[in-house]
Amino acid sequence: MSAALAPRDRLRLLGLLTPAYLWLTVAIFLPLSAMLFFSLLSDVPFGDAPWHVTADNYLAFFQTTTYAKLLWKSIKLGLMVTLACVLVGYPCAYVLAKTIRGRAREALFLLVILPFWSNSLVRIFSWAIVLRGNGVLEVGLNAILPFEVDVNLMFSTPAIVIGLVHSYLPYVILTSYLALQAIDDSLIDAGRSMGAGKLTILRRIVLPLSLPGLVAGAVLVFVPVVGSFMEPRILGGRVGTYYGTVIEDQFVAVFNWPLGAALSFILLAVVLLILAVASPVLRRAQA
């Protein structure tokens, strides 16, 4: 593969690269292929039960409306969470990148993205403590407000959305911040000196130039949220049935692995579609 290199360099190159990429092959790419194969089987090929190749698992998705409805529910959840993260996170990134300077900015930026690197499960669990009936939020609000309020958000869709926004907000802030920071301030000054108002500068200079970062952040939020299952389980209770939880069930409860594999692959197709749609904007970020 490396025709231009001397034979000895080619050997060194292979020696340095092979371990990492072999590992990725065994742990990521072969498993994905195995899953594609499994999704086309009538039964798991372990033990004595007969099995054959079939498209039934994919047909199952289209025969009932159950799975399609759940997938749509998950996509809607993804859109809701992404929109919330963009609306909350982009202004925050702007404030950080363009109005605060020096060490304060660095410290604040670190503070904003630090929770993202802590355990997501634990953070979802912490919301369960805050949101439950008679929990901290309810008791706290009733202590401040002059009238009694009843806030039991636990086991509801808003609870799931709040938890997921908390989990993924740092992504949008991180990518938008990096894009906004790269915008040369003199461009903004030039716009202002020629009489552009704040809104015009935002719409004609800042937004277009930082769009790749914003879209990258949105994709990084949307993709995992569509496949989420732990967050809806913990914060959603009975309303927490989503496409992801159905896939989880196929592997840990119902043990219908071929169906689970087919459902996973349909999800993967949706993810790839999203990435393909976003890629023209994302490619601009690399240029």
């Binding site: 060194r12 109005t99 630090l114 929770p115 802590s118 912490s126 496949g227 732990m230 592997f251």
Partner: protein
């Protein structure tokens, strides 16, 4: 005048987001020191849940297992990732772009999909679930992060230094050990800490790959939450959050992911 109002509004917005991000974590930490098992207020200070934690052998073993898995993952991912980064930096060859793109699937594909695919594959080849499977999975998830972080550091490295060392008669191994590695050391340390965080915090892939009696800490917590909350979980969760935030704070010292000042 208008500008000042906007600036103040921006600061308030930022402050509100920080409250949103940290309040639930702080409340959870506070509740782990509350005597009531049902999170009853008023608050009454107690360390009983931390004491209960010490007596809980299941949680202790899971914690130890999580740390061990994270250390093994960190070691393997850092060595393999650094080697690959150096190769990608030093040599020009066809297919290099493709190799870089191949780093994205482990990050971009939802862990639900990679996790279940690994489960199927490891069963298919007869290895099944368990700690080795978990480690193989974690290394694959951590590798791209290490390569990205180390490559970022390598991008600031002046390749003519390698040429100079070579011209002075150093062999390839000598060049790597005495010139390249010392320069990228902060990147390697940051990459290692990222790998530790990815493994230590990983829930989804561990969930599908760990044996029921052999759970990692996050998997144990998930099972416990679904059975019903106890403040013991608060206590162990608080410890986990403190550990992973400390690891990332150290990582931040070595890699400037905030960009240039």
């Amino acid at each position: 005048m208008n500008g000042r109002v906007l600036t103040i509004a921006g600061r308030i917005w930022l402050g509100a987001i920080l409250v949103f991000l940290y309040a639930p974590i702080l409340i959870m930490a506070l509740m782990s020191f509350n005597a009531s098992p049902f999170y009853q207020l008023p608050f009454e200070f107690s360390t009983r849940w931390y004491q209960a934690l010490g007596a809980n052998a299941e949680i202790r073993e899971a914690a130890l297992r999580s740390v061990l898995i994270a250390l093994v993952t960190t070691t393997i991912a850092t060595v393999l990732g650094t080697a690959a980064s150096i190769a990608l930096f030093r040599y020009e060859f066809p297919g290099k772009r493709a190799l870089r793109i191949l780093l994205f699937p482990p990050i971009a594909i939802p862990w639900l999909i990679t996790g279940t695919a690994m489960l199927i594959f490891f069963f298919g080849i007869g290895m099944g679930r368990g700690t080795p499977a978990v480690i193989i999975g974690h290394v694959a998830l951590a590798l791209p992060y290490v390569i990205v972080v180390v490559s970022a550091r390598l991008a600031t490295f002046d390749a003519t230094l390698e040429d100079a060392a070579r011209a002075l008669g150093a062999g390839p191994w000598m060049v790597t050990r005495r010139v390249t590695l010392p320069w990228i050391a902060p990147g390697i340390i940051a990459g290692a800490l990222f790998a530790f965080a990815v493994s230590f915090d990983q829930f989804v892939v561990s969930y599908f790959l760990s044996e029921p009696g052999d759970a990692t800490l996050p998997v144990l917590i998930y099972t416990a939450i679904r059975k019903g909350f106890t403040p013991e979980i608060n206590a162990v969760s608080t410890i986990i959050i403190v550990v992973s935030m400390l690891v990332m704070l150290i990582a931040a010292r070595y890699s400037k992911f905030g960009g240039e000042r």
